[in-house]
Each structure stands twice: as C-alpha cells, then as structure tokens.
C-alpha cells in the first residue's frame, strides 16, 4: 500500500527546539494511526455500539460522556452524545466496524485521512495546551483515557488524554500544519523535542 503523506512534513523538524538548554518539558509528535473511524449510535443504541467497539478492538470503553480508553495501540473515546472516535494502527478498521455496526445501531464514517493526530507529552503539556483551549486540563477534571471536543478559534479539536501528562489531539487535516506550527511556537518557552 502506498505510504501516506503527512500534512506536517515541511514543518516537522525532529530534534530539540526553543528554550531546551533549560530542559525539555514538552515532546511533540504525530501519531499517524492507520485508521480513524467515527461511530455514531441512534439514540438508545449507545450500549450496543460500545459493545461493537469491544468486539472489533477489544477495548472496554467505559460508559459515560467523554469516557474513553487507550491501550497504547488502539484508542476509543466519546466526543458527543452517542458518538465515538476509534483510532488504531491497522488499516480497514472502518470495514471491520461496517460489518458489526448494523443500520439499527448507527453509522460508521471513515475519517482516517481526514484527521491528523498530534501527540503532546511532558510535564508542561497541560500548560502549553492551556494557551489554546479553554478547557480544564487538570487530572482531577480530565481523566486519563477521557476525550474532549473543543475549539481554538477556527480550529475544531478532539482531544484524548492518553497518559497523566500526554494528550492526543485530532484536528482536521487541512488545519493540521497551522496547529502544529502554533503548538511548536507555544512550546518554545518551555523547551521541546520533536520526535
């Protein structure tokens, strides 16, 4: 299969940047999952859909708004009433779901190309993200695994906390380069690595 082109390429510079002499407090990277799928249940069918997610990915998605789970390879989280994002390092996740998610349960939409996943990790990840998004990133308010839909001006973002100080940010591909550049600039103050 043909290698996918990253929208970040010309501005993706591996190495240490910004104020790194005083220590690197943020790591930025692109996770590049092969599949990103949006699943949406008809009202009342959410539990069926959550079961379907388990069948296809083996992920036990906790019930509840914005709840999510990640096993390091595959992640799933709710981002809207009855709607979920599932991402994984396997092609054709959408096809797999299409077999399980019947029209009675809901719909499957493949957005593997349409979203770009940027990971920000490190002790200052919350600090840097707080420069953009008006949501509370404190662990007490935003649990590991959980997901959030939010926006920074024109840029819509779905954010999953995949670790105590690690976040995966899903943005529209056409905006990804602007987001990446903004995150890099905002991280200069604390010193950052691109990996």
């Amino acid at each position: 299969m043909v290698e996918r082109q990253s929208p970040l390429e010309p501005d993706f510079h591996v190495g240490s940047h910004g104020n790194f002499e005083h220590g690197v407090e943020v790591i930025l990277t692109e996770t590049r999952p092969d599949s990103i799928v949006q699943l949406a249940a008809w009202p009342g069918e959410e539990k069926m859909l959550i079961a379907a997610i388990r069948t296809v990915t083996g992920l036990a998605l906790p019930d509840g708004a914005g709840a999510g789970v990640s096993d390091g390879v595959k992640s799933a989280f709710g981002f809207a009433p009855g709607k979920f994002i599932v991402a994984g390092e396997a092609e054709g996740l959408a096809d797999a779901f299409a077999k399980v998610v019947t029209p009675v349960i809901g719909t499957v939409t493949d957005i593997s190309h349409g979203r770009t996943a940027i990971r920000i990790a490190g002790p200052k990840a919350e600090w840097v993200l707080s420069k953009f998004f008006a949501i509370d990133f404190a662990l007490t308010a935003f649990a590991v695994g959980a997901g959030r839909s939010t926006v920074h001006h024109d840029i819509f973002a779905q954010i999953q906390r995949t670790g105590t100080d690690q976040f995966d940010i899903y943005v529209f591909r056409s905006f990804a380069r602007s987001v990446w550049k903004a995150l890099c600039r905002a991280s200069e103050e604390v010193g950052y690595d691109v990996q």
Binding site: P43, E46, K47, G64, A65, G66, P81, T150, V151
Partner: protein, 98 residues
C-alpha cells in the same frame, strides 16, 4: 459567560453558536399558513428577562441546546439538549466521577 453543556460540562461561550429564539414553532412542512411561516422566520419575543433560546455547542459536541438565560443579567438558569439523548453515554462525566 459559561454554558454548562449537558454532555461536555461548563464551557466558555466562545465554543457556542447562538441559534436564536427557541419559542418559534415551525409550521408543518406542507403548511400554507403564511402568517405562521412569517412569524416563524421573522418575529421574535425578545424578552427583557428569561429567554428560551437555542445554542449549538459548535465548538464541542455540536449538539443543540435549549438554554434559559436572563437577557438582563446573562444568568443561565437551565440548559438541556433540544433533541432527547436518553442514552447513558450522554451523562456528564463530572457526575460519574464526583
């Protein structure tokens, strides 16, 4: 101003799009009652006080919310989904964890 989205929890007004007067009733699609259509499209209650209005959480879950907000103080007294989301995956996470 903060609006407490039933799904996402309290969020800044910057994440929402105002969709106006929530009291307007759209006539049946085939209705020929033009006064009703005109009232629906053009006429507003515009009260000074509690206002029943529609907001879309466009910068969040994108659900449409029915909000009761005081137009004199901007105090918000209630926020609910316009479209019923009875599914369990629609409860605010905050509640689950508190």
């Amino acid at each position: 101003m903060l609006i407490t989205c039933p799904y996402c929890g309290p969020r800044d007004v910057i994440e929402f799009t105002y969709q106006g007067d929530g009291n307007r009733a759209r006539p049946e699609p085939a209705s020929q009652n033009f006064e009703a259509w005109n009232a629906y499209v053009y006429d507003r209650l515009n009260p000074a006080g509690d206002h029943n209005e529609i907001w879309q959480h466009s910068g969040g879950c994108r659900a449409h919310l029915r909000v009761v907000r005081n137009t004199l103080t901007h105090e918000i007294s209630s926020v609910t989904f316009v479209r019923g989301h009875h599914g369990s995956a629609s409860r605010p996470e905050a509640e689950d964890r508190s």
